[in-house]
């Protein structure tokens, strides 16, 4: 493998690792905020406990998410120096403002965790709201840069030199509103379903008093309701994203849908394996005209196929599988809360174990959907780093040693992934919610998060 492939492997692995913590870092504060608001409204101390315990989990995740975010932030300059040279000239603003959003999040998170006891409820909620806002803004701003890679605007390339830079035009590039809303909404979705999973896990565990089960059921209900809202929003918004793709990155959509020839009444291809040589998709289910309708709102709308661009400029065809996976998970996540609601509506019983297992699965699946979406978005742009401006082979470093760094970092991520799980498990095992009746005195001054 050459250093381009190693660089992509190292950065891709780093992103795949960081994205778990970044997504939960956006999603969990919203859940904590909702619990705090419910506590202020209902005065039910269970919600206060919930906010506290979720904050603890969030703190452990931040302990990994902050260094992993630092890693990707620095690695991108180290591995793609050619890319960053253009980024710095054209799309530096979102990166720079993102830092300040990061400050906002870090400052208010600390204030919320270590000074909560000294703040009025309104200030406490304001702090938490600003944590959530800072986290969301970080995601939105980084996505502005990522969207710009797909739809680069705000500059001209003349003889390999960047000229006529308009930083704000680059910032508000055509893909930005779609990508940023998609990232934000799906992060809230994933945060909610992570809590669904945790609640289901606790309810599936044998033992536990009636009171404990009631507590976990309450958390599960809140998370499912939030998840339901964001699952629907993600689907609606995802449709807009796909249409923007058809307009701005047609070959990416073509690869996602494995459409080779430009045509009207294009079918929607579900699953299957795309074969570039025969230009067919094996084992696929086709819905006639559906792709045209999705992309253009008309069954006779013309959708561009892969053959519009030279073969060497095709995105990899495995993006078809990633795209399908993401969409199917999104659909499944609408069905989970719907199923629970219907069951409650018509059976009026405690949830059966099989349904709890489905809930347990929903969190990891949501995260898998996020991973698939990101890998789709970035590999679907290949062979370009900046769409039709800079190829990945021109962007990546030519230094050696990337392979050995890849191994080092991969080992680090694997270790941290397992260690985070173990630490979470150990912490919540030794601090079950039953120990929190009544609320213990808060211990400040320890590095908790």
């Amino acid at each position: 493998m050459d250093s381009v492939v190693w660089s992509r492997a190292l950065f891709g692995t780093s992103m795949a690792f960081h994205i778990i913590f970044a997504t939960l870092g956006v999603g969990l504060p919203l859940m904590i905020l909702l619990a705090e608001l419910l506590y202020q409204k209902t005065k039910d101390p269970d919600y206060e406990r919930m906010a506290k315990r979720w904050t603890k989990a969030f703190g452990i995740l931040l302990g990994v998410g902050i260094p992993s975010g630092t890693i990707v932030g620095v690695l991108i300059s180290l591995l793609f120096p050619g890319f960053m040279e253009i980024v710095g000239q054209v799309i530096a603003l979102p990166f720079q403002i993102e830092i300040w959003a990061f400050f906002l999040e870090a400052l208010f998170m600390t204030i919320y965790v270590y000074a909560a006891g000294r703040l009025r409820p309104s200030l406490r909620i304001a702090s938490l709201a600003l944590v959530a806002f800072g986290a969301l803004m970080s995601a939105v701003l980084i996505t502005a840069a990522q969207a710009w890679m797909n739809t680069p605007t705000g500059f001209r390339m003349v003889n390999g030199q960047v000229t006529d830079v308009n930083p704000w035009k680059a910032f508000f590039n055509p893909a930005f509103p779609y990508s940023a809303s998609h990232v934000g909404i799906s992060a809230f979705l994933t945060g909610a379903f992570a809590v669904v999973s945790a609640g289901a896990y606790m309810l599936l565990k044998p033992g536990g008093s009636e009171k404990e089960r009631a507590y976990h059921a309450k958390g599960l209900r809140l998370a499912l309701a939030t998840g339901a809202i964001f699952a629907v929003l993600t689907a609606v918004n995802g449709h807009g994203v796909a249409q923007a793709l058809a307009r701005h990155n047609p070959e990416k959509l073509a690869a996602a849908e494995a459409l080779f020839e430009t045509r009207s009444h294009a079918p929607l291809t579900l699953m299957g394996i795309a074969d570039p040589d025969t230009q067919t998709v094996r084992y696929a289910i086709e819905i006639p005209g559906a792709l045209s309708f999705l992309a253009t709102n008309r069954f006779d709308g013309v959708v561009k196929g892969l053959n519009e661009v030279p073969r060497e400029d095709w995105p990899p065809l495995y993006t078809h599988t990633l795209f399908n996976g993401m969409v199917m998970i999104g659909g499944f996540l609408i069905l989970v809360p719907l199923g629970v609601w219907l069951y409650k509506r018509y059976r009026r019983k405690e949830l059966p174990r099989w349904l709890l297992y489905v809930c347990l699965l929903s969190g990891p699946l949501a995260m898998l959907g996020i991973e698939m979406g990101w890998i789709f978005s970035c590999s679907g742009r290949q062979p370009w780093t900046i769409y039709h401006v800079q190829r990945t082979s021109e962007a990546a470093t030519r230094t050696g040693n990337v392979g050995s760094l890849f191994l080092l970092f991969s080992a680090l991520y694997l270790f941290l992934f397992v260690a985070t799980g173990v630490v979470m498990y150990l912490y919540f095992r030794s601090h079950p919610v039953s120990k929190e009746w009544p609320l213990p005195v808060e211990r400040e001054g320890e590095v908790q998060s």
Binding site: K56, G59, I60, L62, G63, V64, I66, P67, S68, G69, T70, G73, V74, L75, S77, L78, L79, F80, P81, G82, M84, E85, G88, Q89, V90, A92, L93, F95, Q96, I99, W100, F103, L104, A106, L107, M109, T110, I111, Y114, A115, R118, V165, N166, T397, R398, T399, N401, V402, L405, L408, L412, L416, A419, V423, L426, E444, G445, E446, V447, Q448
Partner: protein, 341 residues
Amino acid sequence: MNASQLAITLIWVLLYVYSVLGSIDFGAGFWAMVYGKPESEPNRVANLFLSPSWKVTNVFLVLLVVALVGFFPHAAYMLGTILLLPAGLVLILLAIRSTFMVFAYSVSGSFAGTLRIVSGLTGLLIPALLLSVLPISLGGFVSMADGYPQLHFGRLLLSGTEYAHIGFGLATELFLSALFLASYAEESGREGAYLFYRKASLWLGPVTLVTAVITTLTFVPEASWILPNLQRAAPYFSLSVAAFVAGYSALWWKGRGGRTGRPKAAVLLIALQYGLAVFAYGAAHMPYIVYPFLSVEEGFTNTAMFRQLLIGYGICLFLLVPVFIWFWRLFFRDPAYLAKD
């Protein structure tokens, strides 16, 4: 001063701020490890400081990197290429340090002790390694082949100047953190911790000065271009030394409640000492970012972007300054927090 000089001044200011904050942060982690028992006062003070501050300090590191790329995108190309290995190693250490620190407080037993030791030691190494960037930027360790820069990492690791820089980094980290924690201990009224950190500062202070002088004596021949520049900046270095003498002597001034030493004054004066030294060093480093391949002018971004960046920084700073002040009062002044056990 033209635009690129203004931008590089800003970068040096950020570098100065991070070098002080980072030193205190990683140093505090080390002291907390040395005094591992949670009930000991020095450990208590270090953790009381670290808990609310480490995240914010970490953001300053990212700010420094991002600002450098933003203001000097052409420098990003060269620095990214040559710093891959050293910066990659720092990132791994940083990840281990922060995660282990957080993990150590979420689990109990001997496992937590191990985590704390690893976290303290990795943290100790980070500022030392970060200082390796300086000898690299001075020349002698980078070569050009077909217009493509390459770092000779092996040569760097075998050079005396690298270890002099590391020594200076270690001494600075331990001195600044001990001094700051002495002041923090005084503020929180922990006499035992104050005496411990004051004593540590007393012997570490002169060490920083000696290692700084040794470092300038170890420059490789390729870096000799900076020596006349450093001599030209001598007035500032003299002021810096004067600030050190004043700050160091403040540890004997008569303080609050008959205590020996005015640690807060000492912290401010030593911060001034480092500020002057960084400014003088930065001025001597002109016009190069990496000698002799990359000048400040060559690395600089376009004026349209520069203007927007300045406006952006101005607005964000304006919005966040009140939060920083509030943060400071909650965790550095409020007796209700400082008295926590």
